[in-house]
Symmetry: none
Amino acid sequence: MTAPASGPAPGPAIVLVAPQMGENIGAAARAMLNFGLVDLRLVRPRDGWPNVKAVAAAVGATVVLDRVRVHGDLAAAIADRRYVLATTARPRDFVKPVLTLREAAVRLRAAEAAGQPTTVLFGPERTGLENDEAVLADALVTVPTNPDFGSINLAQTVLLVAYEWRQAADASPAERFEAGGARPATREELMNFFAHLERELDRTPFLSNRQQRPSMVRNLRALFLRAGPTEQEVRTLHGVVAELARRGADEAG
Amino acid sequence: MTAPASGPAPGPAIVLVAPQMGENIGAAARAMLNFGLVDLRLVRPRDGWPNVKAVAAAVGATVVLDRVRVHGDLAAAIADRRYVLATTARPRDFVKPVLTLREAAVRLRAAEAAGQPTTVLFGPERTGLENDEAVLADALVTVPTNPDFGSINLAQTVLLVAYEWRQAADASPAERFEAGGARPATREELMNFFAHLERELDRTPFLSNRQQRPSMVRNLRALFLRAGPTEQEVRTLHGVVAELARRGADEAG
């Protein structure tokens, strides 16, 4: 999923405009790489570049740090880009579409599919992008936080953008079960277990009510069927029933 | 969007099991509140509670910190919950559905719509949840990170869960339980059944292999949890175990 250290990177370039803290640059790099983004660009980082605090905070995301490019102004940083989004936490004084993160991810994917290099802009930690910077974007992106408590940091915003971009790749159905290829039980194996369980219960007062027996049996079967047992689990259940049924007799004997 | 300091909170309770760093607890609280979650529970926090580093890292998310509850074990922390998800970064040795974050959010919303209190479990920073803890969940949740670089921290995982939960607000509540208003069993009711079953099995040779016992117990618990038993079904299961265990003795007597 990672790209080679050179050549076009997948997904949007992440542009941090005037980032203040090296820690946040490193944390942004780490957040990006978690979801396969590797193209990080810095515009006038306050503490220069390279930055040892960024390296520490990147926690091994060196493939991102190694290819960081530093630019003197935003226009240079996005000169090779076609579709540009600007993150913002507040309304702006110009007219521009505002997208949710999820909508933004769909637009990014669509632009990429059309061969357009994309990018997402992030402003300085405290102040966000200047209006003159945000206006360069095709659209604004906003994180729909709690109106009473919007307190999301730079790297977290990068994380959510990268996450949504990754999610927009495929709507492929998720996996089902873990546990190394355990084979689901066949209906025959399940029916054999039901027969075993019900045979043992018929030797107790549990199913002795003739009228209720059919519904009791159905409910027990439904319960076990809902669990979708594996073949191994059905064998375990046989063992449970056999051992429980045998136990009292052994003790009495 | 925030809830009052008392009364039922919206959305899932976030349970941090044995969190190590106060900073991470505070950052988790902040991440939660960004998306309207306020019910944070701690199981055996390493450095005790309250924790000044957590307060600093929460950056004003006091509505969350003020209602934190601390529990001695996981079972107590989730006793009042019905639908339980466990976050994990690695495969487990039992059979349980694995959901993406997005699927998890839809399931959480559906459970909430059905009146079931929900919760999401997070393990310690370095090691994640123990198998014996993860098995108590209805399903596992995994963050689909870069296979070459999965490096997402505790608060970021909480952020993504809270973000997806918030986003799922509009998604139509999916299917869930049939069976005319049958109440799903609480975790406490399920744990009582597990204790009963395992107590009876401990009186047989079935669980006598010391080395295999923990994994046998986990697999049985996973099986019954997958079925999502109702309160009535748990009572039936108690009856099944009691009757089977009693049967042989009666016959011998």
